[in-house]
Amino acid sequence: MLQIPVWKRVLILGLVAIGLLFAMPNLFYERVERHNDAVAEVERAGFETPEQAAARAGWPDWLPSNLVNLGLDLRGGAHLLGEVHVADVYRSRMNALWPDLREALARERDVIGAVRRAPGPPDQLHVEIGEPSQMARAVEIARGLATPVASLSGAGSSDLAITASGSTLIVGLSEAERAATDDRTIQQSLEIVRRRVDEVGTREPTIQRQGADRILIQVPGIGSAEELKALIGTTARLTFHPVVGQGTDANARPGPGNIIVPSLEQPGVFYTLTEAPVVSGEELTDARPSFDQNGQPAVEFRFNPTGARRFGAYTAANVGQLFAIVLDNQVISAPVIRDAIPGGQGQISGAMTVDESNRLAVLLRAGALPAQMTFLEERTIGPELGQDSINAGALATVVATVLVVGYIVASYGLFGVFASIAVIVNVILILSVMSMNGATLTLPGIAGIVLTVGTAVDANVIIYERIREELRAGKRVVAAIDDGFNEAMSAIIDANVTTFIAALVMFFLGSGPVKGFAVTLVIGIVTSVFTAIYLTRLMIVFWLQRRRPATLEL
């Protein structure tokens, strides 16, 4: 037990050394952070400014540069939990299906009679047919439009659920297709949110899916949740529609195939537009902020070739007509087409500030969200409050360490010094493991580390108390130490496994700060077993071999 082979000694000390090395960057947090930011910037931009070069030189490239991520409660920033309205997509799917269905049904008008879309829930198509006795045929025609679901779990089933009641044919999405669509919607939303957040270039944002239809967004360093919400809460669906008419009644009947859309700039003015857009935001290749001929902020955009062709053809055929630019169901502007616009370039201008034009350009470049998103939870923590918490946490940790070390050394003398070294190494190892895998340190996490300081000593206490007993039982020093370690082992393992269970539960069920706390706790359990058992024993063995004591006071 007390014969530790050389390779094991090297391994233990080597692990401690690696831990120290990887924890070190955290001592120079700001400097390393500037270095890391500069490296990332340079990589993205492809060239280096003198300031970036200076920031990069602030920390040697060959040293580890991973830092512990500071949680929002420590650094300040915004946290949002958004819910994606996945059902929105069902409606647009149904609206897109209607022309095809109408055409297919109309082709057999002499069998099934006249076809009319009846009012129904938005995620279903209700179609009235003239000859209810021929419903079977109508269902068959509708089935002809269905395609197999493109997902693993739904493979083999059809994407449409078709039923009939009386003279009404009801078409909706099947369960399997809904599941597959929801999944796609969330994936797309995640991707677009990520692009939008990346566009503004904040550091280390967290964007994760949570549960079936939720997205968790955490952006450190951003001023407020409102700013973040303005950025990601906007659907940013840009479409271009022919204008049918203009009026002041929001409830006027728009006529078949038309929609009524309010004007952004003139309250009370409503435009009647054809529902199908000529071109939409998906055809954009670029958008950037600029100024219009009057020097007002504007956004310039460019279409891809298909979009440009369609836009060119439409404008050529409709010179003199009104044309509406619609963003998220509001008419931004409705200019008169003076000329064909063949180049596929255009400009959106209207009452906006420079900031707003910047944001709109970002949103258009990143693409539209497939569905609307609402926010269930938002938290903003100011950077000063975070800094206060760091300072308070750091001070408390130092005082706690001094108290604990004083108490252990007073209780166990030299062996107490060994245990104290082990505890301090333990804290350093926790920080280094967290840095290496980019874990997030939260305020409860700091408390978790402090608690670990208390419990890490526990393993040593169990061992030392056992050694004391063995000594009292009259054993010789080496035998007592040997037995002390052996006998204490099962209690230490059991005690740590139970804490581990609690930490795992927190990790899997918890969110936000609780999760951060669980990560700290789990890492702390593993490192504390290492330092309390292996490192302490190694120190004791070194001491035994140098001093060869005949008696031991513990």
């Binding site: 923590i381 308070a392 108290l403 007993e469 609690a502 069920l509 936000g512």
Partner: protein
């Protein structure tokens, strides 16, 4: 002889069962009192569990809560509560108010326009005020968070129960879990008594208490098992007393180090984390009590098998009193 700080003498012979009726009775009475407290006074649930908005307003000058209330009441719909936060870590020019606004609408969140309105209203009475943190939780999430919290505590208790059952005997598992329920109930009780804010981080503290308290109990059980093997014929109550006495020094030592570690966090760690640290500190103290007085009473009451000789595989030169400790060969 070198100086050694020993809070517990080397050898103690305290009869922990002398006042068993009293000590167990205190535990049971405290548990019942806690349940009554929670049922009558309820818990001061944070917005995590109840939904709503909290705003932490900080100002460099002194303010009156009444003024803030008067300023906010006309612009806030939903119930409003304002408390001033005092903390030893605040300097003389730091004054903090915690403003809580109940759920006003289904979405549960305040709009940016509302937030600006609130800030403008406060600036009228206190030009130095600013919002340090704003948190807003909708009713949908808060209901789920309540369920998740309940699941988490239940799952952790169940997991620990299973593990102890596998490693020891079912009586030990029940004894350990009885101690856990005791600790959780008493923590809920004190949070209800002082109406401390009960939120997600309190749940984290509660789970940590579970881990810590069972840690304590397991160490005692481990020694109890060892002693049961060693002293096959002594009455169970004697073996238990011996065990608690043998481990008393360690129980006290660990409790004191943990308390020493947590106290500075409680005093210096700032008000944001105070309730969290308080819950843990309270759990450590209650956990030590339940280990010494409750867990083993349950085991004693349930009885435990005395014949531990079955799994012994006495290899030559091996001491048979270690047979029940599967980890003894660990490095």
């Amino acid at each position: 002889m070198a100086f050694r700080l020993k809070l517990v003498p080397d050898v103690t012979r305290i009869n922990f069962f002398r006042w068993q009726a009293l000590t167990t009775g205190i535990s049971i009475a405290a548990m019942i009192a806690s349940v009554i407290l929670v049922l009558t006074m309820g818990l001061n649930l944070g917005i995590d569990f109840r939904g709503g908005t909290t705003i932490r307003a900080e100002s460099s000058t002194n303010f009156e809560v009444g003024d803030y209330r008067a300023a906010l009441e006309p612009v806030v719909d939903g119930d409003l509560s304002i408390t001033e936060v005092f903390d030893p870590t605040f300097g003389p020019d730091r004054h903090v108010a915690q403003i809580r606004i109940g759920l006003a609408n289904e979405a549960g969140s305040v709009t940016p326009a509302q937030l600006n309105e609130y800030e403008a209203a406060l600036k009228q009475v206190d030009p130095n005020v600013s919002f340090a943190a704003v948190e807003s939780v909708g009713p949908k999430v808060s209901n789920e968070l309540v369920m998740t919290a309940v699941y988490a505590v239940a799952a952790a208790t169940l997991g620990i129960l299973l593990y102890i059952w596998l490693r020891f005997e079912w009586q030990f598992a029940l004894g350990g879990v009885a101690a856990l329920i005791h600790d959780v109930l008493l923590t809920l009780g004190i949070f209800s008594l002082f109406q401390l804010k009960f939120d997600l981080t309190t749940i984290a503290a509660l789970l940590t208490i579970l881990g810590y308290s069972i840690n304590d109990t397991v160490v005692v059980f481990d020694r109890l098992r060892e002693n049961l093997i060693k002293f096959k014929t002594r009455p169970l109550i004697d073996v238990m007393n011996l065990t608690v006495n043998e481990t008393l020094s360690r129980t006290v030592m660990t409790a004191v180090t943990t308390i020493l570690a947590l106290l500075p966090m409680l005093v210096l760690g700032g008000d944001v984390i105070r309730n969290f640290v308080f819950a843990m500190l309270w759990g450590v103290i209650v956990g030590a009590y339940s280990t010494v007085y409750l867990a083993k009473s349950v085991v004693l009451w349930l009885g435990v098998k005395r014949d531990w000789s079955k799994p012994v595989k006495t290899a030559p030169g091996e001491r048979d009193d270690l047979a029940g400790t599967p980890f003894k060969d660990m490095p």
